[in-house]
Structures are given as structure tokens and as C-alpha cells.
């Protein structure tokens, strides 16, 4: 039997060898092309931020820190700030999430775990179509269909719960107009609008729950609910969080349907059931055509706040997904 080892060696090793990978011309060209598109996405984002900062700086300069605390919006007399707008934006988006998250969670679980194959395809299509309906149509639907039907609900909550929980009360519960154009109604409409976003993210993650673990649970005698509880939800928790946050990000920026429903006020939205609120996006939509000079700059400053806000929420959602087991698709 012969020995396979070779006589002698290269001497003691002091450092690792350098490994050079030479790429072909076509590979390099393609790399360059796709890298350019990837970088351009970042560049566009950066340029938008820069543009906002530049345009906003005169107003920010003038208003100083009061821009963050001032509730009024009267650029003509140098009284303008985003305090009320940020408050209204968060209130509307939060109400939207209260509507959207349970709906999205339920439909995502049903679609991925319970629905028979044909119904599943139909439902996925239907949810995707919901996302394709233009905002302005949701606005019309919200104003003319939903609002008249929700006034009664608002009144019931205000009368029966408002006594115990002050922020759910309204000033004059006897007149229906106390309840129209409120943050509650706008939030309901926005909630319906963000259902598809949240549903798709959640459903996608649920459906990626490993088949091996699913079968393991089933073989132990688990019901579908057992599989959901012990396999799908632990695996998909990050998807629920990410779907919620992406939906929240969308809700913060939703413009036209909110603008169509609310009646703008320039004070903190302390009573969401009561008529009147305002959001950053709705303010910009309503004012930009008439604003001049410092007014325009002030709108850019408000836009900058919204931009940073949504960027932050979406980044957090991204981090949650990438840190989770379900986000790392390579590891099953």
C-alpha cells in the first residue's frame, strides 16, 4: 500500500495566504450595473432628505425650537409649529392600527393556516386588490358611507364610556356634527387602508414556518390551533411586529383620505371622537397651494418631521425582521 502524503512542505506558515478572485468582464459589468441601481435608491433617499432640510431651514431658523412645541400654524405672524400636528398624526395612526392589526392578524392566520387552497388564492388576491384601491376612493367611501354609520358608534362610546374615560367624551353629544370629521373616523378609514400591507407581511412570514416543525407538531396529535400556537406564532412573531410597524409607517403618511374626512384644527387632538383633528400630511396637502415665502418653508419643515418619523418607524420594522429567526431565510 502506498503512502499518499508528499515529501517535504513549504516551511512554517506565518500568515494566511491571500486568495485573489478574478472576475470576468461581463460579471464586472453586471456587478457595476446592479450596484449603481442599488446605490441610486440610497442616493435618492439622501437627496430627498437633503432637499427637505435645505427648503425647511429658513422656517426652522425663524421658529427655532418652538417649532416642536407650537400648536398654531400661522406662518404670517411667525407662529407655527408641529406639536398639534404630530399629536394628531399619532392619534389617527394609532386608531388606524387598533382597527388594522386585529383584522390583518386574523386574516393572515386564516389565509395561511385554515383556508382551503382555492379560497386562499382568492383571499390573497382580494387583499392585494385592497392595496390597489386609490386613497382618494377610500376617502370618498369613508366620508359618504362609513362616516354616517360610525356617528352612532362614536356617540354610544362617548355616552357610555366617556364618563369613565374622559378622553372618550365629547362636548355636545346631542348633535351628530360633534362626531363627524373626527380623528376616530379618519383613523378607521386609514386602518382599513393599511390592512393589506400588514396582512401581506404577516401572512408571508406565517407561511414560512418550517414544514418540519409543523409536521412534528401534527404528528404529536396537535390540532391546527396547536400548530398555530406552538409553531407558527413563535416563528412569526417578528412578522406580526414588522407588519404592524410597516402599517403604522403607512398610516403616519396617509394623506388624501385623511384630508377629505377631517376638519382641521390647530390644537392637540385630546378627544379623538370629537370633530376636528389634523395631521402633518393633511396639513401639507391643504396648505401648499396657497402658501408663500416662509409658509412654504414651514410646510417643508413639517414634511421633514414626517420624513424622519416614518424613516425611523420603517427602519425599526426592518431591524426587528432582520434580527428574528423568520427574517433570516437561510436558516431553517
Amino acid at each position: 500500500m502506498s503512502d499518499l502524503s508528499l515529501p517535504g512542505h513549504l516551511g512554517p506558515v506565518h500568515s494566511p495566504r491571500r486568495v485573489v478572485v478574478r472576475r470576468s468582464k461581463s460579471d464586472r459589468a453586471f456587478r457595476g450595473g446592479v450596484r449603481a441601481s442599488a446605490v441610486s435608491a440610497l442616493a435618492i433617499l439622501g437627496l430627498i432628505g437633503l432637499f427637505l432640510v435645505l427648503k425647511a431651514s429658513p422656517a426652522l431658523h425663524k421658529a427655532g425650537w418652538s417649532f416642536l412645541t407650537e400648536q398654531r400654524w400661522q406662518p404670517g405672524i411667525n407662529r407655527f409649529g408641529v406639536a398639534a400636528l404630530v399629536c394628531g398624526t399619532i392619534v389617527v395612526a394609532t386608531i388606524a392600527m387598533l382597527v388594522a392589526v386585529p383584522l390583518a392578524f386574523g386574516s393572515a392566520i386564516y389565509i395561511s393556516e385554515y383556508a382551503p387552497a382555492r379560497l386562499r388564492r382568492l383571499l390573497i388576491g382580494a387583499v392585494d386588490l385592497m392595496a390597489a384601491v386609490p386613497s382618494v376612493v377610500y376617502g370618498l367611501w369613508g366620508f359618504f358611507w362609513l362616516q354616517p354609520r360610525m356617528v352612532g358608534v362614536s356617540r354610544w362610546i362617548a355616552v357610555h364610556v366617556g364618563g369613565a374615560i374622559p378622553f372618550l367624551s365629547v362636548k355636545d353629544a346631542s348633535t351628530p356634527s360633534s362626531f363627524t370629521s373626527s380623528a376616530f373616523i379618519a383613523g378607521m378609514v386609514v386602518g382599513v387602508m393599511v390592512v393589506p400591507t400588514a396582512t401581506s407581511v404577516m401572512r408571508e412570514v406565517f407561511s414560512q414556518a418550517p414544514v418540519g416543525e409543523r409536521e412534528g407538531a401534527i404528528a404529536l396529535g396537535a390540532t391546527t390551533w396547536g400548530v398555530v400556537r406552538r409553531v407558527v406564532l413563535p416563528f412569526g412573531r417578528s412578522g406580526v411586529i414588522a407588519g404592524t410597524m410597516l402599517g403604522f409607517g403607512r398610516a403616519l403618511g396617509e394623506t388624501i383620505s385623511v384630508y377629505m374626512i377631517i376638519s382641521p384644527i390647530y390644537a392637540m387632538t385630546t378627544h379623538p371622537l370629537q370633530s376636528g383633528t389634523n395631521t402633518i400630511a393633511a396639513l401639507i396637502a391643504s396648505q401648499y397651494s396657497e402658501a408663500t415665502g416662509i409658509g412654504i418653508s414651514a410646510l417643508f419643515a413639517a414634511g421633514l418631521v414626517l420624513f424622519c418619523f416614518t424613516l425611523l418607524v420603517n427602519s425599526l420594522a426592518g431591524i426587528v425582521v432582520s434580527r428574528s429567526r423568520s427574517g433570516a431565510l437561510t436558516e431553517i
Binding site: 409536521e215 404528528a219 396529535g221 396547536g226 406552538r230 413563535p234 416563528f235 429567526r325
Partner: protein
């Protein structure tokens, strides 16, 4: 309330079992009597339908979209496909260990073992749970390796340990039958030996049906054996079945002889 006292673990009988995926017939007319308290191995080349047959025995086959079957599967004389039998109930009595170890990775070793109790809605006191965990891990030959770290994640174990954890998990619900689908195909020789020892230890208490590609393994662990074979564009059928020793030493069918002697497959 009457309680049936079953002395020996249940026996499985299949009568005229055929299986389809869509319009494609993959398994035809398999009638086997699987004796209780013994190890029965199912051997045959890839694509002969032996795994499909195994998954029919605890109603996992029907989870695949488009899957269909014919025939009857009798557990202690009762058809598990009867309309009044719930799939989850039959799977409680007929456990399964898969080719790829599939512990619940986010759960501790302890919780993995008792997962079946929880999933089937059985409320068990903590002290009894502790006893079940120890007993199941001992039976699976894993206790000595993990008893100091029961709180560690199931996913942190080595491949062979994970597979034995899955065996412990299956045993914890006290099944009558344990189905094993190539449980060692992803394991190294040492882990394989440990799993085979485990099979030998639990064999008297549980009826075991094991699918394996490894003929030496079939010869080592099983008392009964069935050889499956599918001709070209033909569904899988049982060519020969009987005591493992006679099937390996004096096969009646030349195809069995060719296969067990390693001439094909």
C-alpha cells in the same frame, strides 16, 4: 366509564392500501399485518412508495395537497380513516419520527419532551411532568447527556441528540405505535448506533415501523421486513414480506435477492 386494558401494544393491519398524488398512482394494493411489540422495517429503493405508506399509517399523507388513498388501516381492529376518527386522535396513538430531526428550536429540551402533552391538551402536574421528561429521555438514551441542561434550547443539541430528543418527544405521549421515517439517514455512525440501541430498548413496549435505505440497519433492528418496489412508470408494491432473517437469507423472489445483496437500488 369502561377502560380497555391493552396488554400488548397495538398491532396495525393495512388492507388494500393504495395512494395517489393528484392523478398519479404511487402505491398499489399494500396489505400488511404489522405485529405488535416488534420492529417492522420497510425497505426498497427511492420512489418505491415506502415513505408514502408510512405516512398513511398516521394520516400524515392527507396533509399533502392533492393526496388521496384507498383501503383501510386498522389499529386494534379499528379503521383510523373511519368518519368518526379524528386525525389528531389517531396521531396521538401513532407517533412519528422524521428523517430530519425537527425539535421545536425555540423551546427548551424539557418543553420539547412535554410538547405533545400540551398540544393534545393534557393537563399534567409539574412533578408528573418531571417524571415523564426523565423517563422519556432515558428511554431515548439521551438522559445522561442532557439532564444537567434541560433548560437549554432544543436547537442547541447535535444532530444525533436532536433526533433522540424527537424520539423522546414522541414517546412522552405514550403512543402504541411509533413510525420512523429514515431516522438515521442524516446521522453519523455513532449517533446511528445510539438510535438503533434506543429502538432495541423500546421495541417490546411500542410497535415500531421503520423506513430505511440501509439494509444492514434493517437486518440489525427489525424482526419483520417488507420489501417495496416500483417498476418503471409503475406504482410501488410489496414484493415480499416476512421475518427479516428469512427475507435476507432465503428470499423467495429474485428481485428481493438482488436488492438485499446490493445489486441495485
Amino acid at each position: 366509564m369502561t377502560t380497555a386494558i391493552v396488554e400488548a401494544p397495538a398491532a396495525l393491519v393495512t388492507e388494500g392500501v393504495s395512494a395517489w398524488f393528484g392523478a398519479h398512482l404511487v402505491l398499489e394494493d399494500v396489505s400488511l399485518s404489522i405485529p405488535s411489540g416488534q420492529v417492522t422495517s420497510l425497505i426498497g429503493p427511492s420512489g418505491c412508495g415506502k415513505s408514502t405508506y408510512l405516512r398513511i399509517l398516521n394520516r400524515m399523507h392527507e396533509l399533502v395537497p392533492g393526496a388521496a388513498l384507498a383501503g383501510r388501516v386498522l389499529l386494534d381492529g379499528q379503521d383510523i380513516y373511519d368518519a368518526h376518527m379524528r386525525p389528531a386522535d389517531c396521531r396521538k396513538r401513532i407517533g412519528m419520527v422524521f428523517q430530519k430531526a425537527n425539535p421545536f428550536p425555540a423551546m427548551s429540551i424539557y418543553d420539547n419532551v412535554v410538547a405533545g402533552l400540551d398540544l393534545t391538551g393534557r393537563k399534567v402536574a409539574r412533578s408528573e411532568k418531571d417524571a415523564i421528561v426523565e423517563r422519556s429521555l432515558r428511554r431515548a438514551g439521551l438522559w445522561d447527556e442532557v439532564n444537567k441542561r434541560l433548560a437549554a434550547h432544543g436547537g442547541a443539541l447535535s444532530g444525533g441528540q436532536q433526533q433522540r430528543l424527537c424520539i423522546a418527544r414522541a414517546l412522552a405521549v405514550e403512543p402504541d405505535v411509533l413510525l420512523m421515517d429514515e431516522p438515521c439517514s442524516a446521522l453519523d455512525p455513532t449517533s446511528t448506533r445510539r438510535v438503533e440501541e434506543t429502538i432495541a430498548e423500546i421495541a417490546g413496549e411500542v410497535t415500531i415501523v421503520i423506513v430505511t435505505h440501509n439494509m444492514q440497519q434493517a437486518a440489525r433492528v427489525s424482526q419483520q421486513c417488507a420489501f417495496f418496489l416500483a417498476g418503471e412508470d409503475q406504482p410501488g408494491r410489496v414484493v415480499e414480506s416476512g421475518a427479516t432473517a428469512s427475507l435476507f437469507d432465503s428470499p423467495r423472489d429474485p428481485r428481493t435477492a438482488d436488492y438485499v445483496q446490493g445489486r441495485f437500488g
